[in-house]
Symmetry: C2
Subunit: 214 residues, 2 copies
Amino acid sequence: MKEVVSTPSEKVVSRLILYRRVIADAAQRSMGYLRSHELGQMAGVSAAQVRRDLMCIGYEGSPQRGYNTTRLLDSLAEFLDLPKGQEMALIGVGNLGRALLSYFYGRRPSLSISVAFDLDPQKIDRVIFGCRCYPASEIEAIITERKIKLAVLAVPANVAQETVDILAACGIRGVLNFAPVALQVPESLYLDNLDVTLSLEKVAFFSRQVSKGG
Amino acid sequence: MKEVVSTPSEKVVSRLILYRRVIADAAQRSMGYLRSHELGQMAGVSAAQVRRDLMCIGYEGSPQRGYNTTRLLDSLAEFLDLPKGQEMALIGVGNLGRALLSYFYGRRPSLSISVAFDLDPQKIDRVIFGCRCYPASEIEAIITERKIKLAVLAVPANVAQETVDILAACGIRGVLNFAPVALQVPESLYLDNLDVTLSLEKVAFFSRQVSKGG
DNA sequence: TGGTGTGAATCGATTCACAGCC
DNA sequence: GGCTGTGAATCGATTCACACCA
């Protein structure tokens, strides 16, 4: 076991999360050990990439047998997760917001949406997929009081910037944004964008290229 | 105007799509010209990056004034879009599928979901957000007949692989996948993944790092 | 022999820096 | 002077190739 030095890149972390998933899958099918090339196959990356990535978390496999699935899962969890799990806030309970609530309802208590906010008075105080909905005016009070550090932003594009400003002001450290806009955020806030329209346009573009390339 | 040589990378295309959006925004506020550094500011990238990216589409700005917004928009559309627009199929009309339908309902006719499929008999033949829902058993017949080339995959993870196999078999060229699994697809199919859980875990991870780095 | 860990090499993406232009 | 377009340099990510181990 080596010492871990610096924070790995976003790409490495994304792949580590992916490895964890496919390893958990394999472990459930009672595969005790996995080779780098098997893991790579399942995750869609090269074997060398897998080995290089796993260096980052300081877990060493054994030559010949590969990686012990359960112990590697432990190492990944230790590296990726906070021991206690984390609460998240959902901002915007439209169609997308509801889909997200339903998606997270029940599963993965380590990362759960525990409070939602919306402007629509019809939604206030309702419990949707196990999550209570509060008025947007209480974002600051509730997030500050419950010390929530993560937020999912599912509001219309035209209010996304002002909303993320509020979130930054009340101590949110990470935001997953679904609004199709380039948000400006302070250094102290990690932002990731899931831009459905952009991805679709990208798919449309490249789907025309693959046919040419052969 | 230079000749465009080879297909740019995914990153470049993603940014071009993003530029188009912010330029369209600026054009509506009647800004006739944009400098590379203004465009970069709005899109969250460097000015050099903007200039380098725009080289790919062979549009030349004028020194001193920058880029003409309406003409640049035309060039971007010519490069990114198919002249006629493209139909898409949605596979899986659960909460997420419905959210996607509502999101695309009405807007952007150039890229529209024109047909949906689901297993649930309750949904069959209903029209949801302007889109008719057909039984999954008719995927092949309808997609082949209507010559649809793009699909959005919003089915549960455990049936995603078999579904994408069907799509590949009936001539789909591009798939946007929301299921949290690493799908295996043939070379002839361009796949992009929008993995909400993965992104959230990434945000959770890096939101803890920003605080350390300062 | 067939695996891992890893330095070195390669490949790609970004930035620098400056020529050319208005 | 301040802009664009772009070769050169830098930076980062991936792959290669091989030492080392069971």
